[in-house]
Amino acid sequence: MKLRLRCGVIAATLVTMGAAARADDEDKVDATDAAPEPAAPPVVRPAAPAPEKFTWEPWGYLRLQYIAVQNDPNVEFIGRDDGFELLNVRVGVRGTLAGRATYMIAFDGAVDERDRVNVPDGKLRVGLRDAFTDVALSKTMVVRAGLFRTSTDTEPLLEIHRLFVDRGLESRGMRATEGFETRGLTAGRSLGAALRVEPGREAGSTIGFEVAIQNGADELASNNNNDKPAISAALLFRTHDGDGLVPNGGGKLHADLQIAGRFNPRTAGDLPFRQDENDLQAIVNANIGTGRFVLGAGAVFQRTTFPSVGGPDSDAFGAHAQAMVSIGTAERPFSIGYRFGILDPSSLVTTDRVMEHTAAAVVGVPRLRMRFLLQGTHVIEQVGRELSNDRVQLAAELTL
């Protein structure tokens, strides 16, 4: 019974930790991954009877893709590096500490490192992705501390099998070799602390929130880049009919809505010329599913001000909307879907907007803990910087 309860707790946790947990599996550096399986630490209730002092569970996944990008006839660094790419080699461990705390530590061996913008030559390196602990304050409230991602992304809050090889355009940005390289707008991991309340797992409508304070520096930065922290707040609303939280799991209605804001006063540049830049973001995403259908959308608006060098503020906007339908069975899962993405990195530049139309199909092989994903993307750059850079991606995922 205890075992079943624990499994139930873990399973529930894997689902209910939702965005934060799965977002934690994401990689904001290469920004192309999709979480194959939940990978959140279990929630531990303060009142749980005589928990073990220390538990641990290894986990991980590997994601490999073959990508073919059209060779743009004019731009030499786009489309001429087709081939295999490791998107993630994630391994980690999660567990509980003394019944009141959980932890998560994960590394990725496929962090894509590039010296400059728009260079085709990347290097793989190992990087720490997650390192945090949640300490329960009450039945629903935890304090999280360490290296983690806040609930300020535009990806759906709740999903088990993501349909697409890569994340939404506004979140991952445009990768080198696929177009003119552009950073995504949403925040990555950072060192800090957060007060969190997850929405409930029970049927009905519940509300959660997250208030976080982080360094706001680069994901791999060992410390803050100034004296000012990044602060964020997110409000999460969830409703479902009690048939489970999996939208395509045969249940009825399920919906999530997240509204978040983030303020990050950054400092860029090298000594002695350091410049303060402030990002103010508003993020919204929603996900609604019923039966075999799931609709999702997310948007982020960002205003950047430049108090050091002066100059006009820069507004950025990005969004995606997607639909997916599950056709297969539990033994032979098969889904197809469509996603529209848009990213306008700067209001100061009139030609930098990018749009994507993506069609995808996913086949799962549960007994091998594998999935295979195929997607094609038609990319539309704005007039003045047109490219021929449509792409096809075939990915394989293995959950360890």
């Binding site: 860029a268 540049g269 430049f306 050091s308």
Partner: protein
Amino acid sequence: MRVAALLALVTACTGTAAPQSSAQRIGSLDDAIGGPHAIGRVGDFLLENDQIRVVIADTGRAADPAQSTFGRVNTTYGGTLVDADLRRLHGSQGRGNDQLAELLPGFVFTVIDPTQVCVPNRQGACPKAAGEFLRDGSDGGPAEILVKGTGGDLLQMVALLNTGLVFPSNLELSTVYRLRPGQRWVEIETTVRNVSNGAHPFPYLQPQQIKNLGLDIPGLENLQLSTPMGMLPLLGGEQDLFTPGVGGFNVQYAIEDAYKIAGGFPGFPGLAADFVASRGVGVSYGLTVPKSPNNYIQAYRSQYPMQDVTDHALLLPFTYAGVAAVFMAKPPDRLGPGEEFSFTSYFVIGDGDVGSVYDTILEIRGEPTGTFGGRVADELTGAPVAAANVLVFTGDGDPLAPGAKIVSQMETDANGAFLGKLPPGQYRFIIHRDDRVTTAPQPFAVVAGEATGVFAQVAPPATIIVAAVDELGRHAPAKVQLVGKFTAPGGAGNPPDARTFLYSLKLGERKRPTAFDGGQRFIEGAWWTVDGRLEAKVRPGTYDLVVSRGPEYEVVTKQVTLKAGSFVSEAVALKRAFATPGWVAGDFHLHAAPSTDSGLPIDQRVASCAAEGLEVAVATDHNFITDYAPVIASSGLDGWLLGIPGIELTTFEMGHFNAYPLRVDPGSTRGGEFRWANQPPQKLMDQLRDLAVDKATGIVQVNHPRQQVLGYFAQFFIDAATAQPYTPTGLLGVFAPYGDEFRAENFSYDFDAIELLTGNHFEDIHSFRAPNPLPPGPFPDPQPVPGQIVVDGDGRAKFPGTVETWFAMLDRGHRATGMGTSDTHGLIGDEPGYARTMLFVGQGKDELGAFTRDDVITAIRSHRAITTNAPLLEMRVGDKMIGDTVVGSTVEVEIHVRAPSWAKVDKVTLYTTGGAVVGAFDVPADQGTDYTRVVTVRPTADAWVVAEATGSGNMFPVLTPTELPPLDATVVIQALSIGLDLGSLPIASNLKPQRTHISTPYAITNPIWIDVDGNGWTPPKPPLPKKTAARPAALPDIRAQFDALPEVSP
């Protein structure tokens, strides 16, 4: 109470300590600064705070004069500021970024010969006992270094000016370098104290008195002179000099333009500037002065018409070879006994652009400012544009329009951001990078206390991708160039002056050499690759892609059209022009970053050598022993290039001498220890041989021997007809160096090689002949004869040639090997390998790995060498070759010249003893790349023969022309001569060698010696003496004459 204690504890533990300055003697090299030009070492003085670090050299004196280190720094004496850098996070232990050559006070051209350098005590004097309070900054106040001494001549050649205007013998000169915490500038307080018993006027002598001493210039007695004082910055080859206003980065030519509007004495001619700054990679420097009633240029404001003379004005009378003068102070008309006069300047250190220096200057002045900043992005990709120049100027239109004045230059960082302070006002800005089209001017306003920001986009560059292989299919080192065509506007001259429309030195743009032949070709960009592969960003346009690999290969040309944001990829196969069995190509005079006047990294130097087809590269940095071998290896050029460590021993006015191969002393901050100042030539050469790997075989080479100031022969007045020193007369005698080391009997012939052609200095090869017809006169006597060598009043060649001097030495049995070198300090417009020396190392040994450094040295010592900038000129007598001796009274000399089609030869000349021409032969047009001629020579006595080949075609774009003249002495003289009558003086003549020209093919062999009677070769003329005759006592000795002057009464 407990809370207060806790707070106090927290404050104590976490509070930031107040920044401090410190001054101390360097006890370990780890305390030194480091960087391309760092020479600070143990025993020197380090002055530092939380912002900057500088090194002031020790005196250089020693109890034993033989142990003194005069000349260890760039100039003669110690006590100067030699290293300067920002304090860097990782800049400790000598890993800084010093790019400054030197900074020192100048009193006209008198400098301090220091007797003391110290951290002063409370009284401002050097401490006499241990335990005294020192102004070392430990009290939170400024840290100081005191330099005190007497006057010394920066150049002996200008001793007349120093002694006549300053008369330093009666003066004590001192400088305090003062650094306060938190400041990015060093306050330099310079003091002149009269230590005589009488009054000391400035200028010390009146013009008539100077005239009486020998400076016999008509009208001199009517002038009123002045005594400018200031600083002499040697900013280093990495730094681009900048002055605001009309100069911008075009300081040298702006100074020459200022000469043309000079108002005459008492104001020395030159450029008036509000401040002086520079631009460099990661560090920049600047000079400014406070408002002062003693401001030199303000005192003579009316002598600087049409120039902006501000309250902080500086006078730049010249900048030459990396040395500038910045005069700022006018001393009082006289100093009474014991009286002193001080002036202050500020030496500023910035982070690489002018803007960061200007920020500090405005801070020093305390004037109201606003900021101007922003970000620069690529118009196509949106990526930030780093290292873009944001040029701020005033005026209504273009920055080059009349009336436009450059205010500042800011450089974008890796994020494309820039920021700088400006005084309130209306400005415009442009953005330029050499690989992009410059933006249109945009207006903006700066308000005091407010920030003005912009977001700017620049058009994208194009990309050129090239892969070149040689005739064997190897990815060989090669040079890639893009050659464009321009349309010159009216008034640009013929050939047009590219500076007026193709690029702007004022804006700091890169030079784009033109063909300079009346055509329209120019070089947009040039790259020297290690493996023939290139990917480069360039300005869009239609170009000829030109790939070359030195004279042994033909050039390959393809037209390419490069569009903004697009790329073009080309594969190129090089074709060999001719084979050179047994011969290897070497350049025996190369400079790179260790030279103070070169900013070129060593990896680029070795790549450029390999790409130009050189197989031997001898490092010859100024007073620095460099070894290219490690960089050759790390560049993957081991299979292409042999590096030989060497040096160019650089004296201030005795000439320059190369030596190789040398040992590198890793414990020395300059690769080895030597002394050049105040040394007679033989001691210089002895030192060089002591530094050699093998004293017996090391080569000592005389560089550019005929160049004024820089050339050994020129400075010793070597007669081209006799190869011996003579006594100059007239003004030349007045301006001759006076030191004992310059006495004629000290001239030494203990050298092994002579540069016959250095770079593109064709004008130095042969003695100058008057053109036919003559240009408009009048000419000073003796009147020139068209087509004949122009001579002076003594009948000697007025502009003697190196080759004629070499011939005279050959006649007298001195067998110095004639060499061709480039003396390159940069790349484009200063290509390595032109000229070069072809050396015969043995049949089958001309592949790298098959010949050794010893083979190279042996070839030089055997005179098996050809000086050339392209043609391979071989000469044989039977089975004997260049450098050999043949026996016989009738010899058949076979001359065989081969050349690439871009360097065709059209004339071959054979010389013999006395420089007599045996024959001069026109080469048929269809044989310009391969021509053979056999000449019969019938000497009556032992003789030598030397062949020479010339062409008249333009070697552009492989070799660029000399478009921009060096500092034009005539312009200087004209500026100095306002109020004088120079018409009768030889220096005023405009009959002189052409200093600007295209580059044409040239080659000259070393001799084959002909032993007529078979009893050994006997010099046809009397051998040169071991010691030359003593210079007659009549030689003007300015110092001696001044010593006889009566002291001025108070």
